[in-house]
């Protein structure tokens, strides 16, 4: 069973911009927590701060009992944190195989695990030895997520996986995320697409201006249109 992620009073400065202004929340162990919010609210910054790519200027971040806030990104990753960034960050000049090999810190790819991944991302098997740069947007997103789960992880940080993808593909991605969920890993998922949020999320945290303004179960938020409107500026039903 994966560990829980907790943030307490986290501040992050970028240059002279104060982006995260005291973020407090937890992502329960083994559950999928959605991180929602307007553009510029600080969601990506939160993920990057947890990952250690940006240093928190104040506050505590913990995965289970381990403190993360002072660790370098590579150390955070080695604790079992998988990261699929907003930009996907696939290595275009490397093949699909090589991209996944890099994700496998233990060295070798596990065949059983690979077979499982191919099950919901068959395109990756088809284009195994092709240059990743030639893949379509949706396929690159698959690759990015696959790379994050190519080995069992304690925590998955996924940033807007459905951004820019056609609606048909979004459905497929939801199914994949649910399969990954079933393995019991803790997931923190940033999304603008409410359909994804509703169908995949167990818990929801809403951010605005660098602070968490709402915490609670996803089901509760999904049922309350007035609350959605207040928090996110529009009814989530319209944001599909």
């Amino acid at each position: 069973m994966s560990a829980a992620l907790t943030l307490q009073g986290v501040h992050t400065h970028i240059g002279r911009y104060h982006i995260l202004q005291g973020v407090d929340f937890d992502a329960p162990a083994g559950r999928t927590t959605m991180l929602l919010g307007r553009n510029g609210a600080g969601k990506t910054t939160t993920l990057r701060t947890i990952m250690g790519l940006w240093r928190a200027s104040k506050g505590r971040i913990a995965l289970g009992a381990t403190a993360l806030e002072k660790l370098a990104a590579s150390d955070v990753a080695r604790l079992g944190v998988g990261y699929a960034p907003e930009t996907m960050a696939v290595f275009s000049d490397l093949t699909v195989k090589e991209n996944l090999v890099l994700g496998a810190r233990q060295g070798a790819l596990d065949d059983a695990r690979l077979a499982w991944i191919f099950g919901f991302f068959p395109a990756l098997k088809k284009f195994w030895l092709s240059r990743a740069g030639a893949l379509s947007g949706g396929q690159k997103q698959m690759l990015s997520i696959a790379r994050a789960i190519v080995e069992p992880r304690e925590l998955l940080l996924i940033d807007e996986p459905t951004k820019g993808l056609a609606p048909a593909i979004v459905g497929a991605l939801i199914a994949c995320l649910n399969e990954i969920k079933a393995t019991g890993v803790t997931i923190l998922l940033v999304e603008q697409n409410f359909r994804v949020a509703r169908e995949v999320g167990d818990e929801v945290r809403v951010m605005d201006n660098g602070l968490i303004v709402h915490r609670g179960p996803m089901a509760a938020l999904a049922a309350d249109e007035a609350l959605q409107n207040r928090l996110l500026g529009l009814s989530l039903a319209s944001h599909q």
Binding site: L53, S74, R78, D93, A123, I169
Partner: protein, 336 residues
């Protein structure tokens, strides 16, 4: 799942061959002007050899820049250091060098360049820790600090080895040329070409077939993501820096042997050339540096024959021309 599966069949990986053909194009354009076949062969062989030497010096620089965005103006210092280091190996074994035995000559040659590479590798580590590391991520300071470092290094070389040129004799059997009909190809140039090709082959093998090479290639594209995947990129970088310095030293040693003398100014001279090569080739691309080195060397040789006054600036002109055609170099790395 078919939605994700959909999409046209993936295009085969199209190798962008056009940039690689530029040296050939230059050779073909120059040939009619040169006229005589034997001269052409001599010049081309000389150009290829020179290109290999330059490649040896430049390939490390392009990876260093590609991986960590580090502009190392101190690279020239390692070229010079390699040359001086070679003298350390060759001086005590002068008898091997002057002996008329290919085996002994090869042995002392290999020893000299290995010593040069090792010493430069070690000092590369020192330079990286002392001068480069404190200014990671700050381009301006990197430029300034590495320039300062190169000044210090050059002066130290003069202090230790003396400010005068040190003569360096080619091992006996390397002197002279092979004659093919009318064309003469210097023996040493052939050796230099072989060494250069070996270096290139080794680099391509490491980059494409080993895990560390995989990390380097990924790091050149997106260093941050490699870190986020759990790898200590800064350690990797130190290794790349050391290798780059070692190769620079190797190239410097070989160049000094070719010229017959060692002097610290070789560093500055070839630094500019290395910069030109890695710009033309595309920052971070070893293959690009390879093509660019040959291109630059051929142009310099042909220009030296056809229009001597232009020879020294021909490289600049080539660089400007290439950049106007491909602003990011011949083989830019994706995502840069």
């Amino acid at each position: 799942m078919s939605a994700l599966d959909a999409g046209a069949a993936l295009p085969r990986r199209r190798l962008d061959v056009l940039p690689a053909l530029t040296p050939l194009a230059v050779a073909l354009v120059a040939a009619p002007f040169i006229g005589s076949l034997s001269t052409f062969v001599t010049l081309t062989a000389a150009g290829l050899a020179m290109g290999m030497l330059i490649f040896t010096m430049a390939s490390g620089l392009t990876l260093v820049f590609g991986m960590m965005d580090v502009l190392n103006f101190g690279h020239g210092a390692f070229i010079a250091l390699g040359a001086y280091a070679a003298t350390l190996a060759l001086a005590p074994l002068a008898s091997w060098s002057s002996a008329d035995s290919l085996v002994l000559n090869l042995a002392v040659f290999v020893l000299a360049i290995i010593v040069a590479a090792l010493i430069c590798g070690v000092f590369g580590w020192v330079f990286e820790r002392l001068i480069v590391k404190p200014v990671y991520g700050q381009h301006l300071k990197q430029i300034l600090a590495t320039i300062g470092g190169s000044i210090i290094a050059e002066q130290l070389l003069y202090a230790v080895f003396g400010p005068a040129q040190i003569p360096l004799a080619l091992p006996k059997t390397f002197e002279g040329s092979f004659v093919f009909g009318q064309a003469a190809v210097e023996k040493y140039r052939l050796l230099a070409t072989c060494v250069g090709l070996l270096v290139f082959a080794a680099e391509m093998l490491i980059l494409n077939r080993t895990r560390i090479g995989l990390l380097i290639r990924a790091g050149v594209e997106n260093r941050e993501m490699v870190e986020a995947l759990g790898y200590r990129v800064d350690r990797l970088f130190v290794a790349v820096f050391m290798a780059g310095s070692a190769l620079a030293g190797l190239g410097g040693a070989m160049m000094a042997l070719y010229r017959g003398q060692v002097h610290a100014t070789i560093g500055g001279e070839f630094l500019v050339l290395c910069f030109i090569v890695i710009i033309i080739g595309g920052l971070g691309s070893v293959g690009g540096s390879f093509v660019a080195s040959i291109l630059v060397a051929l142009i310099a040789n042909y220009a030296g024959f056809l229009a001597p006054k232009l020879a020294l600036v021909s490289n600049i002109l080539a660089m400007v021309a290439v950049l106007l055609w491909r602003p990011r170099g011949l083989y830019p790395v994706s995502g840069r």
